[in-house]
Every structure is written in C-alpha cells, then in structure tokens.
C-alpha cells in the first residue's frame, strides 16, 4: 500500500486493553527474537550456511565463518553515515507549521513565528520559510539557525529530504525502548527488545564487496558499539579513530609487534565468538586507520566543518569515506536533545539552538565535501521521538511521538517534505502529541534497498504479518 494510504496500525493507541493484544503478539513472535538473538554482537552464519534467520531454531552456527563468498571487489559500496539525535529532538522546532492555530496556541518560548505575523515578540523568533502551498501540507518554516539546511533544501537538484510526523509507530515515550526499537528496526509489537541492529543485519546480508579475511566495514563513534550496528560483520566501536594504534610498548621491534599480533589473533581465534570477531575487527581497523593521515586532510574548497566534536567526527567520516573503499558505515550520535526545560531555540547558547547549529552546518559541510567525490553516499538522521505539542511550564517540551527524520545523499530526491500531515487538532493527536504517519522502517528500508543496494529488506526491517510490511516512501531516485 502506498504511504498515503497507510494509517496508524489499530491497537497501538496505548490503552491498557490494547496492550494485552500487544503482549500476545510479543509472545507469538518470540521465535523471531530467538532467531535474531543468535545474530548477537558479532555476526551470524546464517547467510553463508543458507540458514533462514527466521527459522524457529536459533542458528546453530553463531560463529562467523572464515571464508566468505568471495566478492568481486567491483565498485565502491555506497557510504552510509548514520546519525542518531539522542534524547528526542523536537520536530516542531525543526519544521514548524507557523500558521497552524493549534501550534500557535501550544507554544510560547519555543514558538517559531511567521515573520508577517503581528505580535512577533522578538526578531530571533521569526522563521525562515521552507515550503508553501504544497497540497496536503501546511506551510513550513524553520528557525533561523537552520539556514544551512534550508540552503541545501532549496538548491537545484537538492539532495536533502525531510520527513515530518515520522519515527516509530509504537507510542512508548521511553527513550530506551524507542532507541532500541528504532536502532533494531523493529517495534515492541513485532518482537521484544532486539540485540541486533538494522544496519548490522544489512551488513550480514550484503557481503558482495567482501574480499579476504578480516573486516573493517564500519564503526560507531562511541565506547559501546551502537545498537544500530549490532550483529554486523567487521564493526567495532572506535571513540577516536586518530588514536587507535596496536597496543604494544613503544619502541618494540617490528618482529615483536608481529609476534604479539599473531599470538592475540591465534588465541582469540581459538577461543571463538563473540570475542573472536571483535578482535578481528579491531586488528583490521587498526591496520586501516594507521594508514590514514587525519592531520593532513583538506576538505573540498569552501567546506567548513563546525569546530565541535560532532563536526570533527563528520570531517573524519568524510575523509574515511573518500579514502577507505571498504569502510561502509560510520555511526555518530549528537545530543542530548532531551529538552525538558529551557529548550533554547533562538539564541546561541540555547540547548537546542547549539545542537541545531552544529547539525545544520555539519550536514552542509559533509554534503559539499562529498558531493564531488566519486563515491555515492547517504546520510540518515533520526531521533527516538519528537516532543509534545504543548510546551511545559519550564520553557521546554516533554517526550512526544512523531518527529523529524532527515535523509541526504547522492540519489536522494531532495527539496521535499515527505509524509502525510496528520494535523495538530485535539482529535488528531496521540495523548497530546503529533502522531507518526511515516514509519521509520520504511525510510530505513529505502535507504538500504536503494542507496545501499541491498534487497534484503525483509531481514533488515522485518515484517509483522498483518501489521507491517516494508514499502518505500519514494524519496530515492
């Protein structure tokens, strides 16, 4: 069914009675959980042995086979930059329907104004116009801090697509549940919390670029591997790729270094998973990153990354995307966007202002840096939920439901706000919050199927019989 026809799945409105049926569904999908639990942190033998990930028995071969189907090498795989805005970014402060009377009534310190409106309290609260006169959508403005995003949106052959009222269809307002659901590419309905991530499952089902032993296919900028990548081959957390050397006493001879590496590799190989694959990824990542000169990297002309940790990570990701062909995914986090009080939308130093500032400038820089490189890229920005329509008494907002998602990439049909506008009138909300009309799984699935050329959407964003099945939104060329 097309995304316009899709409605909220019945039974998910969150009352106690409806939760009973959800629990029943959860039990009936426990086999799915068991099967996927075998994917674990370090990959699964499912593809190589032909075993169905959805079989009722957990995979017997949980260890990643050494010899993969050899790939042809071929063209570089498209590069994925996965960005998670942690904490729940307020979608209505990113894409604001300034003329909607429900929005106007609900917001105060965080309200973005149509500049033509009488009563504009302060020039900083005037929005910059993004879209107008699109049938089925209200006119949208952005806060001034997002000018770089508007520029990306407005340019001819734009690569920036925006989705409002998007995210998880599960109404939970819990950070952890939602992050788990979105990173795992499932919902609470389909199965209990999943250890594996959608991108992890993408990596294990797309191995045609794999050649040889030892993989470094992706990493997350963190001390813990982001759940998005869980289950993937050749993934490891790397807090700082500029400081990722082989651990050995400085001054040791090459012979000793080789002997040490060999000893470690042998022990971990014998011991087995989950540490074995982790060690292989680590050793490969060390080898790759040691050959990268981060200090001497010059971005494309005119590109200025924001001078923050996030900006630096974006720059490094761009450099790696250009120079490490087999590196396929980098996952970053920003936040916290969890602005329960003093949301701060309009002035530098405000919590959301500063986050939006680095996000907008960072995405602009990354796009300009990558666009002329030969490698295809796709950026996916998501957050666990949007926030309440109504502002609270602390000039902040609380956990909501539908939020904003951003996609930017070589083959993105940009310059559009995708999705069905659900409206903000009382009868159109879910306990006071804007609902979700575009399932994040459809966005993820289209990124994987189209940008990453992996047709296994049935595994990456698994279907829920009678309830959900992937269908593209239509934002990719």
């Amino acid at each position: 069914m097309s995304h316009e026809e899709r409605t909220l799945v019945p039974g998910l409105e969150g009352t106690c009675e409806e939760k009973l049926s959800r629990r029943d569904l959860a039990r009936s999908f426990r086999t799915l959980r068991t099967a996927l639990a075998g994917v674990g942190a370090v990959g699964v033998g499912a593809t190589a042995s032909g075993q169905d990930l959805f079989s009722s028995q957990p995979p017997t071969e949980s260890r990643l086979p050494k010899q993969q189907v050899p790939g042809t090498g071929g063209a570089k795989p498209a590069f994925l930059l996965s960005i998670f805005l942690r904490g729940g970014a307020d979608g209505l402060s990113i894409l604001a329907p300034c003329d909607d009377p429900n929005y106007q009534a609900a917001r105060n310190a965080t309200r973005i104004w149509n500049p033509a409106d009488v009563g504009l309290p302060d020039p900083s609260m005037a929005g910059i116009p993004l879209t107008a006169g699109i049938p089925g959508l209200p006119d949208f403005w952005m806060p001034q801090v997002l000018q770089p995003l508007k520029d990306l949106f407005d340019e001819p052959n734009s690569k920036l697509a925006l989705f409002h009222a998007s995210g998880s269809v599960d109404p939970t307002r819990s950070h952890f549940e939602q992050q788990n659901q979105m990173e795992s590419g499932t919902t609470g309905n389909a199965s209990p919390p999943q250890p594996s991530g959608w991108c992890g499952r993408h990596l294990v089902t797309k191995t045609d670029h794999f050649i040889g032993k030892g993989l470094f296919r992706g990493f997350s900028y963190s001390n813990f591997l982001a759940q998005t990548l869980n289950g993937g081959q050749g993934v490891t957390p790397i807090p700082d790729p500029t400081n990722y050397a082989f651990p050995i006493k400085p001054g040791a001879s090459q012979a000793q270094e080789d002997a040490r590496a060999d000893a470690l590799e042998t022990m971990y190989d014998k011991f087995g998973d989950p540490l074995d694959t982790s060690m292989e990824s680590v050793l490969k990542a060390i080898a790759v990153l040691n050959n990268v000169d981060f200090d001497s990297y010059t971005p494309a002309t005119g590109v200025m990354y924001p001078p923050t940790k996030f900006g630096t990570e974006l720059k490094q990701a761009a450099q790696l995307a250009k120079t490490v062909d087999k590196l396929e995914v980098v996952q970053l986090n920003t936040g916290s966007w969890d602005t329960h009080d003093a949301q701060g939308v309009f002035a530098a130093g405000g919590r959301m202002y500063d986050l939006m500032d680095e996000l907008a400038k960072g995405l602009e820089a990354f796009k300009k840096d990558m666009v002329d490189d030969g490698r295809e890229f796709i950026v996916l920005v998501m957050t666990e939920f949007g926030r309440t329509l109504a502002e609270n008494s602390s000039a902040g907002t609380d956990h909501g439901h539908g939020g904003v998602t951003i996609a930017m990439g070589t083959n993105v049909i940009g310059g559009q706000v995708y999705g069905t506008w659900p409206g903000l009138a009382p009868g159109q909300l879910d306990i006071g919050d804007m609902v979700t009309t575009t399932d994040i799984r459809d966005i993820i699935g289209e990124v994987v199927a189209s940008a990453l050329k992996n047709p296994n959407t049935g595994i990456v964003v698994p279907p829920e019989p009678g309830v959900y099945e992937y269908a593209p939104v239509g934002f990719m060329a």
Partner: protein, 581 residues
C-alpha cells in the same frame, strides 16, 4: 575421604566433586564443602570449576592474596557471611589510602593565578551539596570534585576489604544512575552515593528508592524538582517505574503512558532547595516546605515538599487511587507528601519490581538471559523479606544451587571497571598521586581534552567503556556481555600500559613483579605463574601455552623484568581472562 576428579552428570546433583586444588586447600577439615544449611555442596562441573574463585570473581573487584586467604580460612559460606556484614570489617587502611588521595595532592587550581591552591584543597567525601558547591562554584573548578568522586569509588574498589559491599554499591549505582558530568552534579553525585547508595546497598530497597526519589542528584538529573501542578514533568515519574521499580518484561511494561502522567502528578511538589530558589528567590523565601523551615544557601539540595506546587485530587496508578478530591481545611503543611511515599511503597511491593530487580541482579553478576526459575527464586527472596537486599544475595549465591548458576555455559564478561581494578588488585602497583598532576600535566588537570587525563587509569576505564557516574542515560551501564565486547583494543592498551609503567601514576618494580610471578620464576614458567596469580590457574590452557610460546620467542632479546611485564600484559589480554570464573 577420597574423591577422584570425575565428570559428573547433570543428574547427580548430590555428587561431591572436588578439584585437586580444593582438596589441597581444604586441609584437615576434609573434602566436604558445606552449603549455608550445612548440606554437602553439589559441585556440578568437571574439574575446572572452583567455587571459591567463582565467588571471589563475582563478589570482589578482583582476586588478591588477602581475599584468597580469607576464603581459604573461612570457606565459601563463611566468607559470604563475613562480607555481608561490612561494618564489622575494619577498613581503616583503605580509607587512609582514599583520604590520602584526596588531601595530599592539589588538584584544584586557582582560576586567576593558575597555581595550585592548598587553601582550597579538600576532599569531596562526607560533604553536603552546599559545602561542595561553595568549595567549587565554577564549571572549571567542578572538574576537581568530579575527578575526585570517581577516583574515590575506584580506589575503594581496589583497596577496600569490604569488597562485597562496594560490589553491591556498584550494582545499585547503576540501577539508580545519575550522570556525574551533568552540570552541578559535582556537588550532588558523591552525596548521592553516601546518602542513598551506601546506606541501603545491603539494606532495604524501598528505603533506597525513597531516598533516591528525594535526593538532589536524582531531582536535578531527571528534572523532578521543577515539576509542578501547572505542568508536571514526566521524566522521573517514568524512570521511577521503568528503571527503579517495575521495569519491562520482554519490552512490555505493566504500566502505560497514562500511569506515567498520573505518577508525575502525584510527585508534583517533590522538589529541593535549588539554585534557582536561592538565586531568584522563592515565593516564600523565609519559611517553606515540609516540615516548614527557613532555608538558605547552606541548605542547597535539601529535599523540600513544595505543597503549593502539588496537584491535589485523585490520581490512579495501576488501578490504585492516590489522593482525594476532598481536602482538609486548613491544609496541614505536609499534606500531600504521603501520596508519593505510599506510591513508592506500593511500586516496590509489586511482583514486577521483585522480578525486575532479581533479573537485573542475575544479569549483572551471573548470566545474560537468566532462566525463569532462577529469577523466581531471587525475586521470592526479595518479596518474602519485604524488599530486603541481603536475602537476594544469599539466594543468588547459595552454593546448593551452583549447578544452576555455574557459568560454564553462561559466560559473564569482566566489565571495564572490574577489568581495570582487577589488574590493580593482582599487581598492587604503586600509585603515585603526585605524578598524576605534576607540573607538566597541570593543563590536563584543569581541563584539556579530558578531565580524566590527570588520572589516567580511571581514563582507561572510560575508554574501555565504564566509569563510576559516567553513564549519560539513567538506565545505567548494561548488564549484558555483548555491550562490552567492543572495547577490546582499549583493554589491551591498558594492560600494556600498566605492565610497562606507561599508565600515569601506576608503577610496578621488580618487587611488585615478584609479587605477581614469584621470585626467580624461570622464564619458561612465567605464563603459568601469572595464570595462578590472576585466576588460580583456571585460564584457558591454550591461552596460557600460546602466551608462553610468545614469551619464549622474546626471551633472547628482552630483560627478565621486561619479559615478566610483557607476560603479565598478555595474560590480562587473553580472551579467557576477559570472562569471570
């Protein structure tokens, strides 16, 4: 009584199984190990399982000679009983080390002169939030108490004889987790440990939750103190149910979003004497709260029930009604507070809480995906004792049930804090606090790239993935293994730096190396010697042999001490060492 080592079947639960090691240690008392009830221990596994090492690995931060000697003298059950009464254990030596770390070395630098300021040098222990805040008012100066707070916890983990107590404190710190690096937590986090975690870590859980709910660190962290009747804030209300009591089962909660809203309403008015109250002036600046009292800056962080902010009226949570639509007149000063206190009692008393806490405890200490029968036993101990924690620990580590909980099929990874501290406990390095902040490192001590760079071995723990108070989200560090398999490079890096004296402030000399390997141990026996030291010989045979092969290869080109350092480093890097016994 002879007990040849043999492989028991799983059915022969009563079979007495002894390893060679246990026979040697038990001595004249005989080959029987006795459970808490005096029954013979059922030891389930083939040779390769040592119940005492198991207990030390799980309930201490790492094997050391002292605890090994104690358990050999007292036995499994005796050691457990001894450790479950921490106040009877003399911990003066550890506290002296901690106090010395705090007092002896200036880590606070005057922001104007840039020089160490001994007049401001103080510890962060046993202080009120007001005292800490007044001592370290600025964001830069806050880095000192932040670093000191985490360091105090890590030093106690390394040196305290009340190992089980601090291990349990570590567990509860993660259940009631607040973020040490949040603004102003430098004045609140350590008081939270001292007033919420330490008093109840082996006490009554309902009391812990109530203390947690009312403490400034949690109030600030989850925005509770600003929640009022015009706009109740749901943040703490949600986590009270989701993280601190009922939890989720298979991703589904027994409470729903309406319950969260109702709990938020019940807790309106639960607040503290905040910086805003002090700075901006509170509506009733002289006398307010419950019980009514005058408050000033010295009362920063104290719990206050701000009755005028409380939303009165009936609220329903999980089918139970709190509050009333009929109010007494005049309104007594503390009226309305009991709604929240009753709510917490009710939440803690629910079966879901018992199951949730039991599940978390089992996952943290023993295994991912615990079997329902084990959860039920531990939850039962919680419920039948009225939410007491000690019965849970006793149930969990009851040696009668070692079959059920033995980890051979249920590996439990050494978490980063445990990994770093265990290495310290095994090697007993000299900690040179002065070197941590020498002149050359002064910029690092203030800020630099990381406030931890002045306490490198604590920083290593962060890189591996964990530090006290270091979890930004309230769910605390995960219990599952897979969360920690990614930090391998950082583990190996730390092991290498510790062994080769590259870890700032930690050093091993020849005598320390003798303490690890024994005196004049032949180079061909070094790997096994280290294996005995860190794991009583139970590391994977392949790891030990492979490391010895590596050492043999290096022997011609390295000095004896360098060989020992490299061997120790590799033993700590071995895959089997990453898991607890």
């Amino acid at each position: 009584m002879d007990s040849p080592v043999k492989s028991p079947s799983k059915q022969s639960l009563r079979q007495i199984e002894l390893t060679r090691r246990t026979v040697m240690k038990s001595g004249a008392a005989g080959a029987l190990m006795l459970g808490l009830s005096g029954r013979a221990l059922a030891s389930p596994m083939a040779s390769g399982f040592d119940p005492e090492l198991f207990l030390l690995d799980r309930l201490t931060f790492g094997l050391n000679d002292d605890m090994l000697s104690e358990i050999q003298t007292r036995g499994y059950a005796g050691w457990l009983t001894w450790q479950l009464n921490p106040s009877a254990i003399n911990d003066a030596a550890a506290e002296a080390i901690v106090a010395d770390a705090e007092f002896g070395y200036p880590l606070w630098f005057d922001e104007t002169t840039g020089l160490p300021n001994p007049a401001k040098m103080t510890n962060v222990l046993n202080k009120t939030p007001a005292e800490l805040f007044l001592q370290f008012p600025g964001e830069t100066s806050g880095t000192t108490p932040v670093a000191m707070s985490a360091l105090a916890v890590m030093l106690r983990a390394a040196y305290s004889r009340r190992q089980l107590f601090y291990v349990m404190a570590d567990f509860w710190q993660n259940v009631h987790s607040t973020f040490l690096l949040q603004e102003n937590q430098h004045a609140l986090w350590m008081p939270f440990q001292e007033n919420v975690i330490y008093p109840y870590a082996l006490g009554n859980y309902a009391n812990m939750v109530k203390a947690s709910a009312k403490h400034s660190s949690m109030m600030l962290y989850l925005n509770q103190y600003r929640s009022d009747k015009t706009s109740p804030i749901e943040n703490y209300a949600r986590e009270l149910m989701e993280l601190h009591t009922l939890g989720l089962k298979d991703g589904v909660s027994v409470f729903d979003e309406i319950d969260v809203e109702e709990v938020a309403k019940i807790l309106t008015g639960w607040s503290m004497h905040s910086l805003e109250d002090i700075i901006e002036g509170y509506p009733n600046p002289d006398t307010y709260g419950c019980p009514a009292q005058t408050m000033d800056l010295n009362d920063y962080g104290k719990f206050v029930f701000k009755q005028e902010k409380h939303l009165f009226g009936k609220k329903t949570v999980l089918g139970k009604v709190y509050g009333s639509n009929v109010l007494p007149f005049p309104l007594p000063g503390c009226y309305g507070l009991s709604e929240g206190e009753d709510l917490i009692d009710d939440l803690v008393a629910r079966d879901e809480t018992a199951e949730h806490m039991a599940t978390r405890m089992i996952e943290w200490f023993l295994m991912d995906d615990p079997p329902q029968a084990l959860i039920d036993r531990v939850a039962g101990a919680f419920s039948s004792s009225g939410s007491e924690i000690v019965p849970m620990v006793q149930e969990l580590f009851d040696p009668t049930f070692l079959n059920e909980i033995h980890p051979s099929d249920n590996l439990k990874i050494r978490r980063p804090i445990n990994y770093v501290v265990a290495a310290l406990r095994a090697s007993n390095p000299t900690i040179d606090m002065e070197e941590l902040c020498s002149e050359n490192l002064i910029p690092n001590c203030i800020a630099g790239s990381s406030i931890w760079s002045g306490i490198k071995w604590v920083g290593s723990s962060i890189e591996i993935g964990q530090v006290p108070g270091g979890r930004p989200s309230p769910d605390g560090y995960p219990g599952e293994n897979e969360a920690y398999v990614g930090g391998l490079r950082a583990r190996l890096q730390f092991a290498m730096e510790l062994a080769h004296d590259l870890s700032l402030g930690l050093s091993l000399d020849s005598t320390k190396l003798d303490g690890i390997f024994g005196v004049a141990t032949p180079t061909t026996d070094l790997a096994e010697a280290a294996n005995q030291k860190v794991a009583l010989g139970y590391l994977d045979n392949f790891d030990v042999r492979r490391i010895q092969t590596y050492i043999n290869k290096l022997t011609p080109s390295l000095s004896y001490d360098d060989l020992r350092r490299e061997c120790f480093s590799m033993i700590l890097s071995a895959p089997s060492y990453q898991y607890l016994h």
